[in-house]
Symmetry: C2
Subunit: 243 residues, 2 copies
């Protein structure tokens, strides 16, 4: 079945609805949908619905809802990934995977040893990747992607929730044991992942000074995107265990 990301107001409306150009184009050109095809709809804000293509011309398409609005249960843990910006191919891949795994928010960070200067178009590209991934993984929640933060700006966000610091070599605490040590009311967790060149000693010190929790990701040296994925998986698995 086709899946389409639709603005909330449209998904929550009633009656036959004309599709905006972008969605119409995606449906016709990318998904090659036909008149009468069923379409899974999500607004990326926790709503899903099923519709049928009720009109289809060269440059316009309309849908008719054939189900009620379904409220998707939120994930067991809201993860904010504080990701020092990696090289483009790895960062793109990481954005896709973070969306698939249901990360709530991605905060790209320009730390001292980040080698890439992010452009405005970088964020736009990441958003497009996340949008493509949400339709693929049939999730109800679109990952929020912030504009790039400086390290100083990011530091202020680390203490908004318990935040794991994955870039410190000396610790033996696992992600799971860090999660298990948290109060059972905790539902939000941050994860900090350094860039290819690691966080600087000063940055590591500053992160620890604001109360982040150093964790180990095992004995191997992982690439940036592998480290992020391992930590996300470990945190989600620990919360799945809690239920």
């Amino acid at each position: 079945m086709h899946t389409l990301l639709l603005p909330s107001d449209l998904l929550l409306s009633e009656g036959e609805q004309t599709l905006p150009d972008a969605q119409m184009h995606h449906l016709v050109t990318v998904l090659r949908a036909k008149l009468g095809d069923k379409v899974d709809l999500t607004d990326g804000c926790g709503h899903k619905r099923v519709a049928e293509i009720s009109q289809l011309a060269k440059r316009s398409a309309a849908i008719t809802f054939i189900s009620d609005v379904e409220q998707v249960p939120p994930p067991a843990v809201e993860i904010t990934l504080f990701q020092c910006i990696a090289k483009p191919a790895r960062m793109d891949w990481l954005v896709e995977k973070a969306q698939e795994l249901g990360v709530k928010r991605l905060v790209p960070i320009v730390s001292e040893f980040v080698q890439i200067k992010p452009k405005d178009s970088s964020v736009e590209r990441w958003v497009r990747i996340a949008e493509a991934a949400i339709t693929q993984c049939n999730s109800g929640y679109l990952m929020q992607i912030d504009a790039p933060h400086t390290w100083k700006e990011a530091l202020l966000l680390f203490s908004e929730q318990p935040t794991l610091l994955t870039d410190l070599r000396e610790t033996v605490r696992t992600c799971s044991s860090a999660i298990n040590g948290m109060d059972s009311s905790v539902r939000k967790v941050g994860i900090i992942v350094g860039p290819e060149g690691d966080l600087s000693p000063a940055e590591l010190e500053q992160a620890q000074a604001v109360g982040t929790i150093p964790v180990t990701l095992g004995t191997n040296i992982l690439r940036v995107e592998t480290a992020a994925l391992y930590a996300i998986s470990a945190v989600e698995e620990a919360f799945a265990q809690r239920k």
Copy 2:
């Protein structure tokens, strides 16, 4: 520092050693090493050692060992990944990540809905990717990569160790709870990951009939390579917790 994968007999020998052509080429052309540079050596079988480049000409290079042989402790769990063959770009990426995360053995499987016909060159490419990844992640163990197995052949291997079946939608058992339910003497775990088109109902039934353990990877639909990475991470994290 440069890292080089070297045959065991060479790494375990004494005195000045001339490098085989492949390693010489890699050192000179890819790593652009210079006379006197230090090189981290691994044989992929659990041995590491440090050497210095003691001779360097256009078409030959020699090293002299400057450390004893170090025996790398084996990972807490030996994972065999039973991976139905995914599309090339995703499979390549998965091989890199599996090596980074220290998977012991990769068994590529041609199941019913696998869309790719593996060639001999596929396995050679995967081995090259794993070899490149081991030098990057500084691990001591090279992942063993089997020639592609038919589903029937693979079925015989599932019961050689407790094996998790990740492709079944109906279960609520997590990877961690499956691991925690195993005898504490267990050190080997298999993970089965289906292809883009999933395992067939008959294959799912056959896998369960030989005693594999269905597990959930969460509520989102994950791409093949994401599913593999999530399961590997969850299993390793559960074993790290056990220690």
